[in-house]
Amino acid sequence: MFLINCPFCGEREQSEFKAGGEAHIVRPKQPTELSDDEWAEYLFMRKNIKGIQYERWNHIHGCRKWFNIVRDTSNDEIKAVYKMGEKPPI
């Protein structure tokens, strides 16, 4: 079970958090302008990398804030934690 360093609360057990899938997928500003394929790309396509992955997490049983982490999925090492809207540090 991971220890996750919530940017607002500090280090907490993974059981306090909820994973929210791949990070940095921006909701299109003008969905109506998109073709079916383009909309499907946003809606359905997600990466599943062995290695460095950018993920959204929510401190659901804590401050309820969303934030991003950089995780190496091959060994679960969390390389960095950063707030929503911030650029990934690595």
């Binding site: 079970m1 991971f2 220890l3 057990e13 909820k18 929210g20 921006v26 909701r27 299109p28 003008q30 969905p31 109506t32 998109l34 079916d36 909309w39 499907a40 809606l43 959204r56 929510n58 659901i60 309820r64 804030k65 969303w66 060994n75 679960d76 929503m84 809207g85």
Partner: protein
């Protein structure tokens, strides 16, 4: 003649404390300190079980948690019964009852033993191939196979014991209290680390603690006495917590470990009352030192599984620690020096050692010279080719090995014995290390896997790290601790060590035989009866990956996870397929290391604590008025209120009628309520609901439908505009938490520029819904100053008012199609306001109704319930709710998905009404809907989602989803049931009051 097998006093055994216990119904005696296995051996009992597949007689094989054979059931047929317990780990207590489990009718006469003679029919892949047997053949044997196979009986009574969970945080966790663990714990604790030391056994010191040999010394004392002093010393260290009988079950990432602390299993049952049996320790350690030691390997030769064949190290332990001789005529068979340590121990205690068979030709070893001095015959360069004795070994045959070790030569020599110790060298216990994600490397010189890459802040020390001799442990452990803990001074300096082991081992994975392989039974996995022949067969049949061979032969898939034989399986695969050991990989060891009982995992979360449940502020009233409850999420909701001897159907019919004819009252407090404030609140609602919100006036309510981005209906509810920048949203009971989470997600991540704040107020407010033609009269009596005229207080609007000092929000909204008012008050006033409604409503026969009647009433009106009439595949268009989807709004969540090629298909499942030809026939919810019953395969058009008998319409009504249903009005369809088919007609989903006249009646 009774054998004298209790040989010499051992400090561990209290011979003044006699304990009686039963094994297979017969009474025996042992002493305090005995395990079930040691006590049985002292009573000359080796045969304790039958093997899983061939039902061969099996005996105690080891003296620890790695035991594959001596698996017993404790206290059969009682609430305390427990299957799959290793006799080698059970500490005996007065009144202990154990029985063999994998045998029927008894361990001495076992029907399944016939499988042994049928074994050519039961090759590798037996369980897979079984399904290819002719069906008639299978049926015949099924009864017996079921009865005689299986691993123990699961308890049928409730578990009487108490279990707990405990969190532990420490700087350093040391797993294993053998010599390496003791050194590690002392080093860590003395350097100021908050340290926890755990060991699965009831005593500390591992296998060194009973080492009493002149050939193994530390600082001039024999190693056992040296360690005893160390143990006495560390017990005084304050920042060191020591837990025995504590087995680490799982090693997860980020140094999170689960361990089971066993507190009462060694006590007589009457002394366990009101005590916690097991504690599941959830340990988060900054650093972990694994010192789990090593497990002796067996040797693989023909008939290597008879009762009376034990690991050589187990024979030594039984003699040294328990003072028990496993036999009167012992022979040892080895490929390394360890068996000579056993021989020396036995000789010291006056236990006969008949001979030692050593597969090595020439070895220069002090231990061998010592054994030879005692006139023990040593057969060097020999191997065992067969053993004899059905229920107990009585003879072995040995032959000389060829130079390359691939064949046997010369003639057979027979040696008689009643016990055989085997030693194939040692396997580092790397199970926990690999569980943690660690990567192993193969050490060629002695054919062992040792830790290589650590995935977290941890280290393996001692035998589990490949330091298999006393001198290497004492040199390497302090050194690696110094680096690992980053300390300046070692607690231990410059040991003076005497270690007389010669490390040379002659490793032959499968020993040659004078028979062809097909005729031998050389067991690799004892518990699952996998032989060398099976593994070779699997390779011949094309299996290459170790994981596939494992599953096909079931090697390593028993409750012991193949702790003894996995290495040999790998070795045989490697030799046969000519692949290098290091490149084959190993199978994965899964948690738990030894089995855990469910109680330990569940802890205190049993009975009423199994899951938290939520009660509304009015709950006690419902209980008092004999409501039946239904679980909705974690809520307990009043389901219906039976009167006299009514059943559910009768109660619901009565409640439904009353609500439409006069007045009904519903506790709707469980509805999710979210308080929304902020200058962008209206814009926010515009984006999350399908309809438009900007123009909703203050004091008005509106129904909204919420979609996922994929266009599917997610939740619904009425939202009220309380003020310019203030809304109260309601959600479905089950969806409340998810809706709040989803809205927060959008606010925080997609639209952080919006000025909106969300607060869950579900628990803050009690919600009472009064409906029916007389509801207006009741409300006006409760709130005399309120103008309830349709002009002042129309449908879909809201008023603030008071009862005495209690603030109330009243919404005129309806989920039943009747005129209806929802009173929201602060939760703690909920019950008294409800009682007020009941009191005032008495004159109007106000009838409390539950969720079932609520569902019926809304179905009459064709209102959907999200999650019942919808699943995650229904769009608003599919629900015939096009009216609620704004065409003007540029965007809202899910909008773009409503015109994807898939969502605009005409033949999607769509919500329709269904009427049965026979108005008294009530459909079963979930039934399939078809049109052509003769077609094969029958095409499933959809299913029934809601179905009731409507007392107000006096006929059965149903909602369902049907492919292309929108265009099927009036069409006949069929609901096929088990023994009949029901004819239905597709209708509009609104059955009652299509013009909504009743809302304003």
């Amino acid at each position: 003649m009774k054998k004298k097998l209790r040989v010499k006093r051992s400090k561990h055994i209290d011979e003044t404390y006699k304990i009686s216990f039963k094994f297979n119904g017969k009474l025996y005696y042992g002493f305090k300190g005995d395990t079930l296995a040691s006590a049985l051996l002292a009573n000359d009992i080796h045969l304790v079980g039958r093997s899983f597949k061939y039902h061969r007689p099996r005996g105690i094989m080891t003296a620890g948690s790695e035991e594959p054979n001596a698996i017993v059931q404790l206290h059969n047929n009682s609430a305390w019964t427990e299957p799959n317990v290793r006799a080698t780990e059970v500490e005996i207590y007065e009144g202990l009852e154990a029985s063999s489990q994998n045998c029927w009718p008894s361990v001495n006469f076992d029907v399944g033993g016939i499988n042994n003679f049928l074994s050519p029919l039961l090759p590798a892949g037996f369980y897979y191939k079984t399904f290819m047997w002719p069906a008639s053949f299978w049926k015949k044997y099924e009864y017996f196979i079921r009865k005689s196979a299986g691993l123990g009986k699961s308890p049928t009574k409730a578990d009487p014991d108490i279990y707990e969970h405990r969190y532990i945080h420490c700087d350093v966790l040391v797993i294993g209290a053998g010599i390496s663990g003791i050194i590690s714990a002392k080093t860590a604790a003395k350097n100021g680390f908050k340290t926890l030391l755990v060991d699965e056994k009831p005593y500390l010191g591992g296998s060194t603690i009973y080492q009493n040999s002149e050939y193994f010394k530390i600082n001039n004392q024999n190693s056992g006495s040296w360690l005893e002093k160390e143990i006495n010393e560390i017990k005084k260290i304050e920042n060191l917590e020591i837990k025995t009988r504590t087995s680490v079950a799982a090693y997860h990432g980020y140094n999170y470990l689960l361990a089971r602390e066993n507190l009462t299993d060694h006590l007589p049952i009457e002394r366990r009352k009101n005590k916690t049996r097991h504690k599941l320790l959830k340990i988060r350690a900054k650093k972990v030192v694994t010192a789990t030691g090593s497990i002796e390997r067996p040797l693989i030769f023909d008939n290597n599984d008879r009762p009376g064949i034990l690991l050589s190290s187990a024979i030594k332990k039984y003699a040294d620690l328990f003072g028990v001789a496993c036999g009167e005529k012992n022979i040892l068979f080895t490929n390394n020096d360890s068996a000579y340590e056993t021989a020396i121990s036995l000789i010291q205690k006056g236990i006969n050692v008949g001979a030692i068979v050593d597969n090595r030709e020439k070895v220069d070893s002090k231990l061998i010279y010592e054994v030879e001095k005692n006139n023990v015959k040593i057969f060097k360069g020999h191997t065992i080719v067969n053993t004899y004795g059905y229920k107990r070994i009585n003879k072995i045959s040995i032959m000389q090995l060829s130079k390359d070790g691939q064949n046997v030569i010369g003639s057979k020599i027979d040696l008689s014995c009643d016990c055989l110790g085997i030693s194939g060298g040692w396997t580092p216990a790397v199970h926990l290390f690999t569980q943690s994600g660690g990567k192993l490397k193969f050490r060629d010189e002695d054919q062992v896997f040792i830790p290589n890459i650590y995935p977290s802040d941890q280290i393996s020390v001692g035998a589990c790290n490949g330091d298999l001799t006393l001198d290497s442990i004492l040199v390497n452990v302090p050194k690696s601790l110094k680096d690992f803990l980053n300390i300046k001074n070692n607690v231990y300096e410059n040991f003076d060590v005497l270690s007389s082991h010669n490390n040379f081992k002659r490793n032959i994975w499968l020993l040659p035989s004078n028979k062809v392989l097909g005729k031998t039974k050389s067991f690799v996995d004892y518990q699952n009866d996998a032989t060398a022949k099976d593994i070779k067969l699997a390779l011949r049949e094309g299996f290459k990956s170790i994981e596939h061979v494992k599953r096909y032969t079931t090697t390593g898939m028993g409750t012991d996870q193949g702790k003894l034989g996995n290495m040999h399986a790998l070795g045989i695969i490697s030799e046969t397929s000519e692949a290098k050991m290091g490149e084959l990989g190993t199978t994965t060891f899964r948690p738990p290391y030894t089995p855990l009982t469910f109680g330990t995992i569940v802890g205190r979360n049993v009975g009423e604590y199994f899951d938290a449940y939520r009660k509304t502020p009015i709950h006690e009233w419902h209980v008092k008025n004999r409501a039946k409850f239904e679980n909705v999420g974690q809520w307990k909701r009043a389901w219906y209120y039976p009167k006299n001897n009514e059943n559910m159907f009768q109660a619901v019919q009565r409640e439904s009628k009353a609500a439409r004819e006069s007045a009904g009252i519903l506790d709707a407090s469980t509805l999710g309520k979210i308080d929304i404030q902020g200058t962008d609140a209206s814009e926010f609602l515009n984006r999350v609901y399908t309809n438009a919100w900007s123009k909703l006036q203050i004091g008005k309510c509106r129904y909204g439908l919420m979609l996922n981005e994929d266009g599917m209906v997610y939740d619904d509810g009425v939202t009220t505009r309380l003020g310019e920048n203030h809304y109260l949203m309601t959600t479905t009971t089950g969806g409340a938490a998810n809706v709040l989470g989803k809205l927060e997600d959008y606010l925080q991540t997609e639209w952080p520029e919006l000025d909106v704040y969300l607060t869950s107020v579900t628990d803050h407010l009690a919600t009472i819904s009064v409906c029916g033609p007389n509801s207006k009269k009741i409300i006006s009596e409760i709130f005399p100053s309120l103008d309830l005229s349709d002009k002042n207080f129309p449908h879909m609007s809201f008023k603030k008012t008071k009862i005495g000092k209690i603030h109330c929000r009243i919404m005129r909204i309806s989920f039943t199609g009747e005129q209806s008012y929802e009173i929201n008050v602060q939760a703690n006033f909920g019950k008294s306001v409800w009682e007020k409604c009941m009191e005032v409503g008495k004159n109007y026969n106000i009838t409390p109704y539950g969720t079932e009647t609520m569902h019926l009433l809304r179905a009459e009106k064709g209102f959907i319930i999200v999650g019942q009439d919808t699943d995650a595949t229904m769009t608003p268009i599919d629900l015939q709710m096009d009216w609620i989807v704004s065409k003007k709004k540029y965007d809202f969540i899910g909008k773009r998905s409503l015109y994807r090629s898939d969502t605009i298909r005409e033949d999607r499942k769509q919500l329709v009404g269904l009427l049965t030809d026979n108005p008294n026939e009530i459909l079963e919810e979930g039934s399939q809907i078809v049109s052509d019953i003769n077609k094969s395969p029958i095409e499933m058009l959809g299913h029934v989602t809601s179905s009731y008998f409507s007392p107000n319409l006096k006929k059965s009504i149903a909602l369902g989803v049907v492919k292309g249903g929108k265009n099927m009005l009036g069409q006949k369809l069929i609901i096929p049931m088990e023994n009949k088919k029901i004819n239905v007609t597709v209708t509009d989903p609104v059955f009652l009051d299509k013009e909504n006249k009743r809302l304003n009646a």
